[in-house]
Amino acid sequence: MKMAHDPALFTRIGLGVLEHLGSPSLPDSEGNTPALSGRVILVSSAHAGEGKSFVAQGLAHALAEQQEGDVVWVDAAFDTPLVEADISRRGAAGLSEIMTLGSLQGLAPAGWGPERLWRLGRGVLAQRSLLFRPEAVRKGLMALRAGFALTVLDAPSLGSCGALLAEVDAGVLVVDARRTSRHDALQALAEARFDRERLAGIVLNHRPRPIPRWLGGD
């Protein structure tokens, strides 16, 4: 059965995330926005391959349309192989260079979606252990907060997020309805020690065909 396209899907997800984040820091009396006011949203899952990248891209796209500031989608999935097929992008600087060297390089327009949407690759220094160094993580996110109103991190699975979990403002957990059991999701959240208060919500991916109401469905 062909699934109906829901054009407001990511809009709703974005609204839910923004609602969880609350209102941004207000400008002062002179109209200056406080420094480091950007907020970071982490998109992760219990296991790899549950659809984090798709949700993160869609969420960044929706957030760029829903609010005024610039939005950057960042590839922070250091635990997965690089899928960069663009030869010109290979070897380019990215998040790992910001974390280690502090230089904000490798930033590029996303090329899709609104003009306020940017993209940042993982960089050539990306290593899984880099995410477990709080200083490096803090340095990288600080640079992103300074430059963008919203940063959407396409993060690795919860077990590999390391210090990212403590630094982000909100998290979105992607759950594959075909693969991930409630036990796996709860265990991953417990092991990652991610603060539930900062978890904005769940995105259920690969949802089974819903049962219509006339058949007694939800």
């Binding site: 699934m3 396209h5 899907l9 990511f10 709703r12 997800i13 839910g16 391959g49 659809g51 984090k52 990248s53 798709f54 949700v55 891209q57 869609g58 796209h61 590839d75 999935a77 997965t80 899928v83 960069e84 097929a85 663009d86 992008r89 996303a110 090329g111 899709w112 979606g113 993209r119 690759g121 979105v172 759950v175 309805a177 075909r178 693969r179 991930t180 059991s181 409630r182 036990h183 999701a185 709860l186 959240l189 539930r196 978890l199 904005a200 919500g201 769940i202 995105v203 259920l204 991916n205 690969h206 949802r207 089974p208 065909r209 819903p210 049962i211 058949l215 007694g216 469905g217 939800d218």
Partner: protein
């Protein structure tokens, strides 16, 4: 668990896993159909039939051998009875029946020749006495007639003996022929039985090694009515199996299949639920065509 909840679960299983259920039902029907259409193994059936034929033939040969033994014995008894009867009759007429050559002749082709040895003794001097009687009478003619009358009886006795002897030999020849036939039949049957036993004993696998090329005529498949029944039974079994598999797949694993289940399980709100999408549908959700996407976006995780 209430009936309504069970019914709702069954509806959910049928709705979400209808493909699996239908596939299992079709598979069950196909398997049962193939089972009803199957042919018995030709070689195996042929070997079994050969073995059965050999055993049946052995039993038939045994029966026919017994009958042949009975026929031969009856024939022998008839021969003996004939010889005894003729011996008694010969002795009653003053004839001596020589049985030894008859019994010793056995199964020779000419059969036993009964000779009435006693018949030579009274007839041998008769010509001499007749010649004496035909001499010119030296005395009176009355003596000549008397002598003629006395000689008339003995002269007729060899003819009667010859007739009896001929009938006896005919009966004896007939019985001897019957005995020869019974013995030949017995010998033939014994020979066949020996060959049959030998082939079964020396090479027991020989019967099984034979191959029957034509389709066996034995009916070992169900009739048309029972074929339909078996096909329906297989379809129903496949349907039940499909329902069972679908139910296990649907209910097992503790997975979260609806936003409500996920929200209830994890205690956090569900921001959205995404169905399984094709690559084209994913592009539609992202609001752009795949060709316009940067490669990193075009090949997401």
């Amino acid at each position: 668990m209430s009936v309504a909840r069970c019914a709702r679960g069954l509806v959910a299983v049928l709705y979400r896993r209808a493909g699996l259920v239908v596939l299992c039902a079709l598979a069950g029907g196909a398997v049962s159909q193939a089972w009803t259409q199957r042919q018995p193994h030709v070689v195996q059936l042929g070997a079994q039939r050969d073995r059965h034929l050999a055993e049946t033939r052995a039993a038939q040969l045994d029966t026919r051998l017994t009958q042949a033994w009975g026929d031969l014995r009856r024939t022998e008894d008839d021969v003996v009875a004939l010889l005894v009867r003729e011996g008694l009759r010969a002795s009653g007429h003053g004839l001596k029946l020589d049985l030894d050559p008859v019994l010793q002749a056995g199964s020779r082709n000419g059969g036993p020749t009964a000779s009435l040895a006693g018949s030579d003794t009274p007839t041998a001097p008769l010509p001499l006495r007749l010649d004496e009687a035909r001499q010119p009478p030296a005395g009176d003619a009355g003596n000549v007639r008397t002598a003629g009358l006395e000689l008339a009886g003995p002269l007729q006795r060899p003819d009667a003996v010859m007739r009896v002897n001929t009938a006896f030999e005919a009966d004896l020849d007939r019985l001897d022929g019957a005995r020869q036939l019974a013995r030949a039949r017995l010998v033939g049957l014994e020979h066949q039985r020996e060959r049959n036993d030998l082939s079964m004993r020396l090479n027991p696998a020989d019967a099984e090694a034979r191959v029957v090329f034509e389709t066996p005529g034995l009916r070992s498949v169900p009739e048309v009515g029972s074929k339909r029944f078996v096909a329906l039974l297989g379809t129903a079994g496949g349907l039940l199996l499909g329902l069972l598999l679908a139910g296990l797949r649907e209910l097992g694993g503790g997975r979260m299949r609806s936003p409500r289940e996920a929200e209830r399980a994890l205690g956090v709100p569900v921001l959205g639920a995404i169905p399984t999408l094709s690559a084209k549908a994913r592009d539609t959700y992202l609001g752009t065509a795949r060709g316009a996407l940067p490669p990193a976006v075009a090949q997401p995780e």
